[in-house]
Amino acid sequence: MIAPAHDYKPSSFEVRILRQAGPGESSHWERHQVTYEPNLNVISVLQKIATQATTAEGKETTPVAWDCNCLEEVCGACTMLVNGQTRQACSALVDKLLAEEPEGIELRPMSKFPVLRDLVVDRGRMFRALERVRAWIPVDGYGDRGAGPRESQAGQEFRYPLSECMTCGCCVEACPQFSKVELTQHVDETDEEFTQRQNEAYDQSFLGAAAISQSMLFNEHPTGHMNAGERLEALMGPGGLQVCGNAQNCVSVCPKEIPLTTSIAKAGRQTTWHAFQRIFDR
């Protein structure tokens, strides 16, 4: 809801940003003073800071690097820690933040991904996880084969919320079982070699709630169901479903309110059943 009118409205407010020049470098806090206007969000604050190009102390500084694209919380790019909360910067409204925390606003990059610079992180591991669980419908081809399978309203209403996942990373940022994997490229290593080594490391580490939920999205589709086994195998492999500690943080931070724990529970049932089937089919 709109912040009530009696809320504290300063003429300017402080923004503290944890900055880092590049991967592996040390980080430091930088303070910025921003003129207050009504209806700002964290992205417009960062835009103002970029225009100012000086810190609160009046020292010249480089513009802060951050990721964003759609600015309406549907692309997932601008995830960061705003006052310690993992969320999208675009939908973090300044009036609300200042009402909760009049001291100012604190911005940090996500902690579970390698920092590229300042607030920009590399979430490639999440996209790799989608590949691991084969998150797609393996259609025969893209020629004309008529409509897809009929689907009940209930079926659509189950799949649609899962399909709103924008791979923003909030769920894994909040997950105690999801730990950072950060590799540095060796001097004598080509880009391809480095990517391969990185993927191997990713493939041994936890998939995270987003990818688990996506595997359920496809297993519940009539065509996707035909190769459900492949996805369940991935969930049962290293870094799979068994790593989940059921902390339930994921579902509480998801900006799209995706029922992630329901997906995880469903994945649990499907993998158990799949394991039985494997034994009896032997």
């Binding site: 809801m1 417009s44 225009t51 600015l71 309406e72 939908s91 989608l130 419908i137 259609v139």
Partner: protein, 668 residues
């Protein structure tokens, strides 16, 4: 010969559709995008995707009527064969998306549900909640991921396209691009380059478009010799949520599901909107356009909202312009099921529940109907030749443009829910032509003989980059210049256009174009330097901005989204039948004269200094003869009557001449 490869630039719907189709055809693709492709601007599309469907077919709808609505809605400015082809493909495209797992809303029996969109009387629009663009994009993203896993597609996410590589014969042999993290500049050899780089909304500062929609890829190609067509045709969406950083889209589907636009009859009525009775509300779209109601084409809805606020002084608020978009008469459950996504956006950003209180909205820049000029090859019947290497090729051989960044399909005004269709259609349709192009080429751009060319052109871009970093500069701030450019463009080239204002705007843009050369960078480093990347894209906004303004200045008429009141043709006001008839005849004469002069594509070609020169090209209207667009015009009936008589007379004489047989067949 080394393996031939295709470079696709842009990972929205068009780029992904092209990539997956090429991969299916066994062609190796390098896919380049500013953002991870899953975060492309197509995610912002909300309402749906159009095609004739089994339900509308039973009401008399057809592919042909979808085609007709599209060209009529576009004020006949688009070449008709590509539009016809697209409308013919539309049902198959939605079937394919359905097979790929897009969670389209369902009827109780399990069929795809449809809603109505603007500019048509049929429920043609399939939808997945109110995040249809996101759902379609994800389906294509998943297919591309599948092809990537199979080794057919290489991903280059986080690369900025700097321009095409042209050989001595003027053929495109690849592109130069820069990595946004490492700042590495690299040459990408390619036997065909497909640009699917979207619109240029950021030229206007704030719009409904995403931050990646700078138009820089189009501009860089245009500066390398590609023609830019119909730049002045910019769609201003009627309903957006005003914001400090962005004007967030409020989908047409809100009206498609029954949303009503109104203002209080009493100016700036301060009462709670829910306390204002029906009689005290002015449902101006419904009153003025009884046939289409709230679902008139976008250009018309936009002008009416603008007019009711600016000229009639009926804006809901005094401080800023806005009107009500009201959904409160629809049940919460239905709203959540069909419009959840957009209501969520309004709630999050405005802090008001639109299920309880009418939304406050105002028009915002939304879509570029114009774009890079792209060719096509037509069949005798008026469709496109499948697999022709000319389809979607720009005037630079080997360089293709698809999706929003091309100028085809939407003419002077795009109908809602046609953009997702045109993006996916062009992506799929271009692929077989590319396949034929590759087999017609005797070699590969990866062959050694092209090394010198590619290295040379890479070095030019590197030098430009290094100079920009080193430059002392004149202390101009690129972000401030961007704001100023946005202000000028928004003031002069949106809803209402006036020649004196455009001239003035053009002068200001020219000044800004000089000043942008003196930008000093606050970051001169060579790692994730967003400052230098932004400054480059800002610099490249100017050639397009100038082309847009010059095109708008020259076009002395009203057509689709391009509205100059000075050249508006008033309707028929008289009550006297004979006088009405005479006025209608005069109206039709004027309409024919206007079409003779202006039913033409504006083509801008840009010289080395970024200055555009205009020329004009005829439009292929051979399938559906242009007719007056009479939505809501006073005296529309009599004008239509006169017009139909004239057409009938023409058709009568045309039947005798074999050369016009195609026209007669099409119109019969």
């Amino acid at each position: 010969m080394a393996e031939q490869r295709v470079l696709v630039v842009g990972g929205g719907l068009a780029g992904l559709a092209a990539t997956m189709k090429l991969a299916e055809l066994g062609i190796s693709v390098d896919l380049m995008s500013l953002t991870p492709v899953k975060r492309s601007h197509s995610v912002c599309a909300q309402g749906g995707i159009n095609s004739v469907n089994e339900t509308t077919r039973q009401q008399g709808d057809s592919e042909y009527l979808h085609f007709d609505d599209t060209v009529y809605g576009g004020d006949f400015l688009q070449h008709q064969p590509p539009v016809k082809e697209m409308a013919d493909w539309a049902p198959r495209i939605i079937d394919l998306m359905d097979r790929l797992g897009v969670p389209f809303n369902r009827t109780p029996e399990g069929f795809r549900d449809q809603r109505r969109f603007g500019g048509t009387l049929y429920k043609r629009t399939a939808f997945a909640g109110a995040t249809t663009g996101q759902q379609l994009l994800y389906a294509l993203d998943e297919q591309v991921r599948r092809r990537h896993a199979a080794g057919r597609v290489e991903m280059y996410e986080g690369w900025d396209y700097l321009g095409p590589v042209k050989d001595d014969d003027g053929r495109c042999r690849g592109a130069i691009a820069q990595n946004l993290v490492t700042m590495e500049i690299r040459a990408f050899p390619a036997d065909a380059v497909i640009l699917a780089t979207g619109g240029c909304g950021l030229i206007y500062g704030r719009s409904t478009m995403s931050m990646a929609c700078t138009g820089s890829a189009a501009s860089r190609s245009v500066q390398a010799g590609v023609n830019y067509a119909n730049g002045e045709f910019i769609q201003v969406h009627p309903t957006a949520i005003p914001g400090a950083d962005k004007l967030r889209l409020m989908s047409e589907s809100a009206r498609g599901e029954g949303g009503r636009v109104w203002v209080p009859r009493k100016p700036h009525d301060t009462r709670d909107p829910r306390d204002i009775s029906d009689a005290e509300r002015y449902y101006f779209l419904e009153e003025r356009y009884p046939k289409y109601g709230n679902l008139v084409p976008r250009d018309i809805a936009t002008r009416e909202i603008f007019n009711v606020c600016v000229n009639e002084g009926l804006s809901v608020e005094t401080e800023r312009q806005c009107v009500y978009l009201d959904l409160t008469h629809i049940s919460r459950a239905e709203l959540d099921r069909k419009l959840g996504g957009i209501l969520h956006i309004y709630e999050k950003f405005q802090g008001v529940d639109p299920r309880e209180e009418p939304m406050k909205i105002f028009p915002a820049v939304h879509y570029s109907m114009g774009g890079m000029w792209a060719d096509y090859e037509r069949t005798a019947e008026g469709g496109l030749v499948p697999g022709s290497i000319r389809n979607h090729q720009t005037n630079l051989p080997g360089l293709y443009a698809i999706g929003e960044c091309d100028y085809q399909y939407h003419g002077g005004n795009r109908l809602g829910a046609n953009s997702l269709l045109s993006c996916i259609f062009t992506g799929l349709f271009v692929a077989p032509g590319i396949q034929n192009l590759l087999s017609s080429l005797p070699d590969s751009a990866h062959d050694e003989k092209y090394d010198t060319l590619l290295r040379g052109q890479r070095a030019v871009r590197q030098l430009d980059h290094d100079n920009l970093l080193k430059r002392e500069g004149g202390r101009e701030n690129p972000y401030v210049i961007h704001q100023e450019l946005g202000d000028v463009m928004t003031k002069t080239a949106t809803v209402v256009r006036d020649n004196a204002q455009i001239k003035d705007g053009l002068e200001k843009v020219n000044e800004l174009a000089e000043r942008v050369q003196n930008c000093s960078l606050s970051d001169t480093g060579n790692w994730t330097n967003q400052n230098v990347i932004f400054t480059k894209s800002l610099r490249d906004m100017f050639p397009l901005a100038k082309a847009l303004l010059k095109g708008a200045l020259a076009r002395d008429e009203c057509r689709g989204a391009h509205y100059k009141p000075e050249f508006e043709m008033p309707g028929v006001e008289s009550d006297d039948p004979a006088e009405r008839r005479r006025q209608a005849e005069a109206w039709c004469d004027a309409f024919e004269a206007k079409n003779d002069k202006w039913l033409k594509t504006t083509i801008a070609s840009v010289d080395k200094s970024g200055e555009p020169t205009l020329s004009y090209e005829d439009v292929d209207t051979s399938l559906i003869p242009p007719r007056p667009r009479l939505y809501g015009l006073v005296g529309a009936e009599v004008i239509e009557e006169v017009w139909k008589q004239r057409q009938a007379a023409k058709d009568g004489s045309a039947n005798g001449t074999p050369a016009d047989a195609a026209v007669a067949v099409a119109s019969s």
